[in-house]
Symmetry: C2
Subunit: 356 residues, 2 copies
């Protein structure tokens, strides 16, 4: 054996060894997006700490779920790993654990965000490989956080011989986010993985930071949430709360909720979306009637407010938002990736038009 | 109070009471489809009992999963309920329990099958309402079974005042089924609910019974499975196994597997599908290379066999089967309802063309 192959062998061995070693970095060192305020009790939460004890307990708890939050970083690593711990280790029967409490990695390439792979949770605390065998070139990444659980710690792992750095490009553009308010559907139920929540799909499509204020079962027009929204410098507000309120609540609370936002944002477009026509309402006559009445009530309120001079208020008729084949949900109510994709395709031009 | 309202009240009360009471019927009393043979050890299984102990244990176990099976019945009930028990109470982290071990109800209306609602599993044994508040008219139903678990018992519940009867219409047409052989993806991973496995979507689209011989991780060209397929009177055979075999296995086993079927079915079309281009292979260079090599090997085998005179053998280039946006899977491999919908849209005309 002459010297050259030996040197080559040693080099390759060391190279493999260095790549095989994973170095972890705390997620706190990298910029976090999707938050309406930085004044939260813990980093990966959505509501300002001032609301603790002031709002309903369940609503506060849901605010600690990390729906819509994402980290940005760049690295030239050939692999990306993560260690993360969730708060409650939530189990739902109609949504995969990956969507509930997993991670989702995207890479910016050729001017768009592409799915890399998801981080599958195996327990309350997971250490896992997200992607391997990549070309070791510098790339920009986005890591979406769990939709239906809290994130108490997060570390990102890369090859020890590579670098993990602050992101360079501003995408999705951080300034003047689109702020969504809504229900379990808005929170991301039932996306297969975090990146497929409709707010996250729209963030990529619009190339704009989106704030997710969806609260499962609790998009009940709490005025405190309107105050939080009013404090944000948004490009557009989207209100998608109908499934969580009854007709009486719509009639009693919508106008005040909108006015709280409008008082601080005279010119910011406010888009109000009727409830999607739940596929099972084709058979459940009671549900069909409830939906019809609630959507009509909401549309009426919007018309009245516009007549009274409220500007830049837009009602979205929901009839075709998820297609007409009845296949877009897992349970008649909560959209799957199919439903969220369709919804985002329909909502994209409506929102795009209103962003200055 | 005169007599008439009192009688009316009593009538309405009794009517409500009778509707509120649910009467359960054993699923065994209704026709079961999606089986390649009736000679199984238990009713809701897929492989002939003669294979027990003869094939690999894991493959046998997967044959006891009820993927692709469905009951047919009709009823004029205003509600449909179910009681069902699964074998292993399987938990997967990338697929909702509804898809893994739930039920999925469809109704035939205006010449097509429409999603009614899914049955959400709450434990190993679940009693649950699937749909309520329907018009009490006679309708035809199809109830899909769990994709990734076995079903040891099943009862269907309807209003005690209604009737539950044998189906009248023949849809999806029972004769000359399309027989699929494949992997976890074919078995239905990771559909949100049973009806969204691609074999079930295609069954509705083609209006034709489809047999699901997908075996998670085990679509490894076992010749015993080819023998089982060869014994069936199929309209078309579709082989979609590439993700579960390596290049060597493709080169060594494909031809013999096909020939076992072809020996019994000289004229039946056999469609062979290359592996879908896993979205994560855009980044995982090793995976990209493996996929390319395996698909090329398979295509080569098909070309060789056709050159040697094997007729009605068709290779499907998989490049666009799940779209090109990278969003169709939960983990880079297993399709979500979005991926299965796209795959079915692409595969539908390919199969349709070959059904006599």
């Amino acid at each position: 054996m002459n010297k050259f192959p030996l040197i080559l062998f040693v080099f390759l061995f060391l190279h493999t060894l260095s790549n095989a070693q994973v170095k972890y970095y705390d997620g706190s060192d990298f910029p976090l997006y999707g938050k309406i305020t930085t004044e939260t009790e813990a980093r990966y939460e959505r509501l300002p700490k001032t609301l603790k004890g002031e709002i309903r307990d369940r609503l506060w708890y849901l605010g600690t779920n990390s729906a819509g939050l994402y980290l940005r970083f760049r690295t030239n690593s050939t692999s990306v790993h993560a260690k993360w711990e969730v708060s409650t280790n939530t189990v739902l029967n109609h949504m995969p654990f990956v969507g509930v409490k997993g991670l989702d990695l995207y890479c910016y390439q050729d001017g768009q965000w592409l799915f890399v792979n998801s981080g599958k949770p195996t327990a309350k605390k997971t250490t896992g490989l997200i992607m391997d065998n990549m070309k070791g070139e510098m790339r920009e990444y986005m890591l979406y956080m769990p939709l239906y659980d809290g994130l108490t710690s997060l570390e990102i792992g890369v090859d020890s011989a590579s670098v993990l750095e602050q992101p360079v490009i501003d995408s999705p553009k951080a300034q003047k986010p689109v702020v969504f308010y809504g229900t379990s559907i808005t929170q991301g139920g039932c996306a297969s993985r975090p990146g497929m929540a409709y707010t996250n799909i729209l963030g990529r499509k619009l190339d704009r930071q989106v704030i997710n204020l969806g609260f499962s079962g609790n998009g009940q027009l709490d005025y405190e949430i309107a105050e939080v929204m009013a404090a944000a410098d948004a490009s557009v507000f989207v209100l998608d709360f109908v499934p969580n309120v009854n007709k009486t609540q719509i009639l009693e609370k919508t106008e005040k909720f909108v006015n709280i936002i409008r008082a601080q944002h005279a010119e910011t477009p406010i888009i109000i979306v009727g409830s999607i026509l739940f596929p099972h309402s084709r058979f459940d006559l009671k549900m069909a009637d409830v939906l019809k009445q609630k959507n009509e009530a909401l549309k009426g309120i919007c018309q009245k407010m516009k007549k009274e001079g409220v500007k830049k208020l837009y009602y979205v008729t929901p009839d075709k938002l998820i297609g007409l084949d009845g296949e877009a949900t897992v349970d008649g109510i909560h959209m799957t990736d199919l439903g969220f994709t369709r919804y985002s395709e329909k909502m994209y031009p409506i929102i795009r038009k209103r962003i200055k």
